[in-house]
């Protein structure tokens, strides 16, 4: 069964770069990379497409990352979705809060592309 990874990020250039960084995994791991431009769209895609893992930005219009994360974790059908939060550098409080509401890990922007790919591989192994 094909796996799916969703990127929820409102900033177009970061979203594009994340997509591109993860694209190489598509062939190697039979995984589809999806993306959403805000929290609401993200939640919609999570409900519809059921991705195994989500890279979720915190600061977003409409629904922020915490709200999306909480909604996913409170939904019995979605709660196993692995969520990685994307935080701006130096905002330690964000990280703690994210981990408390059930995020698996967090990444700091600007991100190291290799780290993103490594983390995504780790996630794919978990859902295996």
């Amino acid at each position: 069964m094909g796996k799916k990874i969703l990127i929820v990020e409102d900033e177009l250039h970061i979203r594009t770069l994340l997509e591109q960084a993860l694209e190489d995994l598509e062939d190697e791991f039979d995984v589809e990379i999806l993306s959403a431009a805000d929290g609401e769209e993200g939640l919609e895609i999570i409900r519809r497409e059921r991705p195994q893992a989500v890279f979720l930005d915190i600061m977003m219009p409409k629904k922020n990352g915490y709200e999306v994360c909480r909604a996913v974790k409170e939904d019995p059908e979605l709660k196993d979705t692995i969520i990685v939060l994307l935080t701006a550098k130096g905002q330690e409080a964000d990280r703690r809060k994210g981990l408390e509401i059930g995020a698996y890990d967090y990444m700091t922007k600007p991100f190291d592309p290799d780290e993103v790919v490594e983390l995504a591989k780790e996630l794919l192994q978990i859902v295996e």
Partner: protein, 599 residues
């Protein structure tokens, strides 16, 4: 050439084709296929696609030309064939191509434009990701490589970074250009291969690595100050097989702001695992950060060296004022360091006292500088060997001779007694009575009356201990404060906050009988107590103007008496006595940051 499927994603293509089809007459179909040799692969289709065009692998172009109402348009990117756009009308309807050509051209044009833009976006993305990688690497390297000011640590961190960088290398070596010698030193090598299967038994010897530095290849790369990859060593004319086992080499010089400080070399054993440009770039990035870190460490060491050299020169200058104290400051420094190390290691008597590396160095420096205040003490006081100067005593001798002649008394023995008293360390009752006798003994000559000794001469000869008058003693006792005054404006305090305290307190005693401030035990810091013990010990063990050098046993005995009298710290004296052999052979290499230590 990038696959069309990456440029026209399935999701997008589905919607695009559906919406395009909606604008066309009924019974039409549209399909996009990716060019593959020898056939083509359908990426997306919409409408009544004939069955002949649906399943592969087959020659799509040929199949399309056999369809009666079908246009097959090549999708090109940078003048290369990326795929095909098929627009057609199902066979059921025979109204011909009628109008489909225009729609086909429009779709073809817009798809090619989308492909082109997607391609641009991707290449910008690749470039941006590459920059992200570079920045991330640099950020990490800056932190890791600058975490220490010691050359050794910087180079170790660089090796660790290379090991983490997943390079096709089995060995990483850093050669450090050794200061003025213009010699390249191999510091260490390590297996850099992340893949454990690549590890083989170390086929190199020490001389092999030296061979690398001697090779023309290495010298030319280093001289060029740019890095280089050599994936086919055997074919390189600059290489004469200096190390047989290696197949590939990546060499990058390590440059500081103005000078070459060393070279990093990576060597691979497996010829099928060549170095690539991206590896060179990575090492180049690391090397540029490492070069700056090394330059910092190098300058830091130089500052340390200059500081130590200056302090040593000052110590030598102090000691040189008096031949009998030559080397005293250096010995106090060494003994102080030795005692501090012993105390730090001890778990028995002083488990509570531990000096860290900086404090150990601080004690060493304080030892070198503790007597610098003696610069302000007159030389005649420092080197005073007798209670009265020799010429002055001879004057007394003349009076005595005259007195002897006049009274027909033998005077030579009396003069000898004076000479002995003049250089004695302390006096007995008989000596004191003798002096009193001659301050009262009168001499009448040429109509004048005088005593053999003037009251002042009597007083000076009566000095109970040593040979200094009270005023001279005051002058000597000023030296710890003088040291403090001289050194207080040198910003030692940043690194060595206790140094001045130690110097000021080295003549204080635990019972409050010391000088200059006669402070009590609880105010005397541990370091000062160490300084006091080794200062007394060295003074006892060497000749002084007023005494001969004592044996080790005798000096130790006196130190213990001083401890019993609550002058010196008894625990420290005990450890000093127990470990004196080790303490006397303390090497300066035992302290950190010490310039010129073996790396």
């Amino acid at each position: 050439m990038i696959a069309l499927s990456k440029l026209l994603k399935a999701g997008f293509l589905r919607t695009y084709l559906q919406e395009a089809l909606a604008m066309m007459p009924p019974d039409c179909y549209i399909a996009v296929a990716q060019a593959e040799t020898p056939s083509a692969k359908l990426l997306g289709a919409c409408g009544a696609l004939p069955p002949e065009l649906q399943s592969g692998p087959f020659d799509l172009v040929a199949a399309a030309t056999q369809q009666p109402d079908c246009i097959c348009l090549p999708l090109q990117l940078d003048q290369e064939m990326a795929g095909y756009l098929l627009v057609g009308r199902s066979q059921a309807n025979n109204s011909g191509l009628n109008g489909l050509e225009a729609a086909g051209r429009f779709l073809h044009h817009s798809l090619e434009e989308i492909m082109r833009r997607e391609q641009v976006k991707r290449s910008l993305g690749v470039e941006a990701l590459e920059q992200y990688r570079e920045v991330a690497l640099m950020q990490r390297a800056v932190v890791n490589l600058n975490s220490s000011m010691q050359l050794h640590d910087v180079m170790r961190a660089l090796i660790d970074e290379c090991a983490a960088a997943a390079l096709p290398a089995d060995y990483a070596m850093i050669y450090h250009k050794d200061g003025g010698l213009e010699r390249w030193q191999r510091l260490y090598n390590s297996h850099a291969a992340a893949d454990s299967t690549a590890l083989v038994a170390d086929p190199f010897t020490e001389s092999d690595f030296d061979g690398l530095t001697q090779s023309r290849l290495f010298k030319e790369i280093v001289a060029g100050s740019k890095g280089e990859i050599i994936n086919d060593l055997d074919a390189d004319p600059r290489w004469e097989g200096e190390i047989h086992s290696i197949s590939t080499l990546l060499v990058v010089p390590l440059c500081g702001s103005r000078m070459a400080l060393g070279t990093i070399a990576l060597a691979g054993l497996d010829p099928t695992q060549p170095f690539q440009a991206v590896h060179l770039k990575k090492i180049f990035t690391l090397a540029s950060v490492a070069g700056i870190a090394m330059a910092n460490a190098y300058h830091f060491e130089q500052v340390q060296q200059i500081l130590l050299a200056l302090i040593k020169a000052m110590a030598t200058a102090i000691d040189a004022r008096d031949r009998l104290t030559a080397g005293h400051s250096h010995r106090v420094a060494q003994l102080g360091l030795g005692l501090a190390l012993v105390i730090s290691e001890d778990q028995d008597l002083c488990p509570d006292v531990v000096f860290d590396k900086t404090e150990q160095l601080e004690i060493f420096y304080a030892g070198l500088l503790h007597d610098i205040g003696k610069i302000g003490v007159r030389e005649e006081v420092l080197t005073k060997a007798t209670r009265l100067p020799r010429a002055h005593l001879e004057l007394i001798g003349l009076r005595l001779a005259l007195w002897g002649e006049l009274n027909e008394l033998p005077w030579q023995d009396i003069y000898s007694h004076f000479e002995n008293i003049n250089k004695a360390y302390d006096l007995n009752k008989e000596d004191e009575a003798f002096i009193h006798q001659f301050t009262n003994e009168s001499l009448h000559a040429a109509g004048r009356t005088m005593t053999i000794l003037t009251p002042e001469e009597g007083q000076r000869l009566l000095t109970p201990r040593g040979n200094l008058t009270p005023d001279e003693w005051l002058e000597i006792r000023r030296h710890p404060e003088e040291s403090f005054r001289i050194l207080q404006n040198i910003p030692f305090a940043t690194y060595f906050p206790n140094m001045l305290t130690m110097i000021l307190q080295h003549h204080e005693r635990l019972d409050g009988s010391g000088y200059p401030n006669a402070i009590a035990a609880q105010e005397i810091i541990h370091q000062s107590r160490i300084m006091a013990i080794v200062d007394v010990y060295d003074a006892l063990r060497q000749d002084r103007h007023y005494k001969k050098a004592l044996s080790h046993e005798r000096a130790m005995h006196i130190l213990k008496l001083e401890a019993n009298d609550n002058h010196l710290d008894p625990r420290f004296v005990e450890l000093f006595a127990r470990h004196i052999d080790r303490i006397e052979h303390t090497l300066t290499t035992e302290i950190p940051f010490f310039p010129g230590r073996d790396v």
